[in-house]
Point group: C2
Chain length 418, copies 2
C-alpha cells in the first residue's frame, strides 16, 4: 500500500477508534446522570429524615436509597465492562482517575447510609458526604465533555454537564430553603446563599441553552414558564422577605421541598432527552466515520486495480497531482492523484474545523477550570482542605457580590497566575 494512503486510512481508523471509546463513555455518562438524579432525591429525603426526628420519612428514604442502589449497580457494571487496555483507552488518565474517586465513594456509601439511619450524623454532614459523591460523578461528566473528540458530541456533553450542574444547584437551593423555612425565616446567611445559588443556576442554564438542541431548549423553556416554576418563584420571594421580626409558618418548608422536588424531577426529563441525543449523536458520528472509511477503502481498491493495469504508485502520486505542472498525457494517473489530494485536503479541513469547534465548545468549560485552579491555589497557600478552600472562595465571592469565576480570576491574578 502506498505510505500516504496507509496514513490516510490510519487517520480515519484512529478517529473511528476514538469515537467508539467516546460512545462507551457517553453510555457511562447517561447512567451517571440517572444515578445523580437518584442520589439527589436520596439526599433530599435524608435531610428531611434527619431533620424531622420522627420515623415518618424512613420508608420514603428507604425507597429512594433502593432506587439509587440499583442505579449504582448499573454504573458499576458499565465500569466493569470497560476495556481499560483498549486502544481508545489512551489519553484517558483524567477520566479514569475521576472514576476511581467515584468508586471510592461507592465503597463509603453502605457505611454512610447505616449511620444516617442510626441518626449518628447531622443533616449537614450527611448532605456533605452525598454532595461529595455527586460532585465526583459530575467530575466524570466534566472530563468526558472536556476530552471528547467530536464537536457535535462535545456540544451535547457541555449542555448536559451544565444542565446537571444547574439542577445540582437547584437541589442545594432546595436544602437551603428547607432550613430557612423550618426556622420560620431566612437569616442573612440563608438569603445570601439563595441569591448566590439563583445566580449560579442562571449561568449554568444559560450555557446549557447555548449548546442544547432546540428540543431540549424548548422543554426547558416550557418548564421555566410552567405553573410550578411560578409558584416556586413566589415562594422564594416570600422567603426572601422574611426576617426574625416577620417570620412565616414553618410548614411552608414542606411546600417548598415538594415544589422543588417536583420541578427537579421534571428537569430530569430534559437530562433524559439530552442523554438520548448523546447516544444518537455518537451513533451518527460512528456511522459517518465508518462510511468514510469504506470510501477510503474503495479508493484503495481502485488504486490496486490501476496498479495491475500498469499505472504504478509513482504515477499516481506524481507531480501531475499538484497544480505545479500541466496535465499528464495519460488519463488515469493525474485524475486519481488529484482525487487523492482532494480527499486528503478535505480530510485536513474537516479535522481543522472539528478542532476549532471543539475549542469553542470546551471554552464553555473554562469557568469551572478557573474555579478549580483557584481552589487548588488556596489549598496550597493556606493549607486548606478541598472543601475549606471551596467554601472560602464561595464566601469571598458572595460577600463581594462577585461571581465565583470572577473571584477565582482575582485570586489567580493576585498570585501572578491569572
Amino acid at each position: 500500500m502506498p505510505p500516504a494512503l496507509r496514513f490516510m486510512l490510519a487517520a480515519r481508523r484512529s478517529e473511528l477508534e476514538g469515537l467508539r471509546g467516546l460512545a462507551d463513555t457517553c453510555e457511562l455518562v447517561t447512567l451517571i446522570s440517572r444515578l445523580v438524579h437518584a442520589l439527589q432525591r436520596e439526599r433530599g429525603y435524608t435531610n428531611v429524615y434527619l431533620g424531622s426526628q420522627v420515623e415518618t420519612y424512613r420508608s420514603q428514604l428507604d425507597l429512594h436509597t433502593e432506587q439509587a442502589r440499583a442505579l449504582e449497580q448499573d454504573v458499576l457494571q458499565r465500569l466493569q465492562a470497560m476495556d481499560l487496555n483498549a486502544a481508545s483507552a489512551a489519553d484517558r488518565a483524567r477520566l479514569f482517575n475521576r472514576v476511581a474517586y467515584v468508586l471510592h465513594g461507592f465503597d463509603e456509601l453502605p457505611g454512610l447510609r447505616r449511620r444516617i439511619r442510626e441518626r449518628l450524623l447531622s443533616p449537614s454532614v450527611a448532605t456533605a458526604a452525598l454532595t461529595r459523591l455527586v460532585g465526583g460523578l459530575m467530575a466524570v461528566v466534566f472530563e468526558a465533555a472536556d476530552t471528547a473528540i467530536d464537536p457535535s458530541i462535545t456540544r451535547v456533553l457541555v449542555a448536559l454537564f451544565n444542565f446537571m450542574q444547574g439542577k445540582e444547584l437547584a437541589g442545594q437551593e432546595r436544602a437551603t430553603g428547607v432550613a430557612g423555612f423550618s426556622a420560620g425565616f431566612f437569616d442573612a446567611g440563608v438569603q445570601e446563599r439563595i441569591l448566590h445559588l439563583t445566580q449560579s443556576q442562571q449561568r449554568c442554564f444559560q450555557t446549557f441553552g447555548e449548546f442544547a438542541d432546540p428540543v431540549a431548549g424548548q422543554r426547558w423553556a416550557d418548564l421555566q414558564h410552567s405553573e410550578i416554576t411560578a409558584q416556586l418563584l413566589r415562594l422564594r420571594e416570600v422567603g426572601m422577605r422574611t426576617s426574625a421580626q416577620h417570620p412565616v409558618d414553618p410548614g411552608l418548608s414542606q411546600l417548598w421541598f415538594e415544589l422543588h422536588s417536583q420541578r427537579i424531577d421534571q428537569m430530569h426529563e430534559v437530562e433524559t432527552h439530552l442523554a438520548e441525543q448523546l447516544l444518537a449523536s455518537c451513533q451518527s458520528s460512528i456511522k459517518l466515520a465508518n462510511a468514510d472509511l469504506d470510501n477510503h477503502r474503495v479508493l484503495l481498491q481502485r488504486l490496486a486495480s490501476l496498479e495491475t493495469m500498469g499505472c504504478g504508485d509513482a504515477r499516481l502520486f506524481s507531480v501531475q497531482a499538484s497544480d505545479l505542472d500541466s496535465p499528464a498525457p495519460d488519463g488515469h494517473g493525474p485524475q486519481m492523484g488529484r482525487s487523492l489530494l482532494d480527499l486528503l485536503q478535505a480530510q485536513t479541513h474537516r479535522l481543522q474545523d472539528a478542532n476549532l469547534q471543539l475549542d469553542e465548545a470546551r471554552q464553555a468549560l473554562n469557568e469551572r477550570k478557573l474555579v478549580e485552579r483557584a481552589k487548588q491555589l488556596l489549598m496550597n497557600e493556606y493549607a486548606l482542605s478541598e472543601s475549606e478552600a471551596y467554601t472560602r472562595l464561595r464566601q469571598s465571592a458572595m460577600s463581594r457580590g462577585l461571581r465565583m469565576v470572577d473571584m477565582a480570576q482575582n485570586v489567580l491574578a493576585v498570585a501572578g497566575k491569572g
Copy 2:
C-alpha cells in the same frame, strides 16, 4: 482488585501509554527538523542554480539534494516503523493526516528534482513546491505540539515549532533578498515583503523565547549578538535604502545569500539542542510515570497482604477514609484508606495542573490556528486555492500594516465567526 484501584492503575497506564506514543512522535519530529533544514538548503541552492543559468551550482545542488534524500529515507523508515494500530494511536487522526500529506509530497520530489535540473521550472515555481513540502512537514510538528499530553514536552515542542517557523521565514527572507539584490535594488514589493518577514520572524522567536529552556535561549541570544547577525542587519538596511535611482552592486546578492545561509546553519544548532531536549524530556516523563506506576503496584501488594490478614476491601475503602467520621479503632484500615485517598487526590491535582499548563502552552499555537481558519474561510467564500487565500490574507495584512493574526481575526469577525 478493588475497582477504584483498578481505575487508578488504568489512569497511570493510560498516561504511560500516551507518553510512549508521544516519544515516538518526538523522534519523528527530531528527524523532521533535520529534513526541513536540508530541504531549506536544497531550496536555496535550487534558486541559485535556476537563477544563474550556468552549471556552476549544479554540483552543490546535487550535494544538498543527496543530503535531503538521505534524511527523507530516515523519516520514511521512522514512519514505516510506526505501529498505526497501537493503543497510543487513538486520537491521532490529525497527525496521521498531516503525515499522509507529507508522504504525498515525498512522492512528488523525484519528478520535481528532475524538472529543476532540466530547467523546466522557474525559480518561483520550484521554490513554491519545496516550500509546500516544508509547510507540510511543519504541520506535522504543529500537530505533534498541539496534541502532546505532557506539559513539559509540549513546551519544548512549542519552542521548537516556533523556532523552525522563524527559521523558515528567515529562509524566505534570504530568497526575497537574493531577488532584490540581483535586480540591483529592492522595489516596493520586495521592501514590504522583507519588512513583513522580519516582523513575523520576531514574533516566532519571541514565542520560542517564552517556551525554550535557558540553554536554547542563551544560544539564540548569542547568535543574535554575533558578528554574522550584525553584518546581515547592515546588509538588510543597505538593501532597504536602495531604489531604481540608487541601485547597488548585484554581486551583493551572493554575500547576502552566504551570510543568511551561514546564519541559518547556526540556527539549526539551536534546533538540534531543542531536539535533544525533547528526547530527554520524553525519557524523564516516561521514567517518572513508570516509577509512579510501580508505587501504585507496591500499594496494591500491601493491600493484598492486608486482605489476607483479614482486613477486607470494604474496610480499606470505608467511610473512615474520609474526614466524615472519627478515626476507626483498628490500625490499618483508615490509614490505608487515607493514603489511597491522598494518592487519588494527588493524582487528580497533578492531572488538573498538567491540563492547565497544557492549555497555556497550546495557547501559543492559537495564532497559527486563527490564520488557518481565516484562510479556510477565504477559500470557501471566494473559491480560492489554499495558496491564493494565504497570499490574499498576507497581502491584505501587509498593505494595512497589520499582523497576519490581526487580519485573520478581522476576517473572522466580519464573517461573524470571530
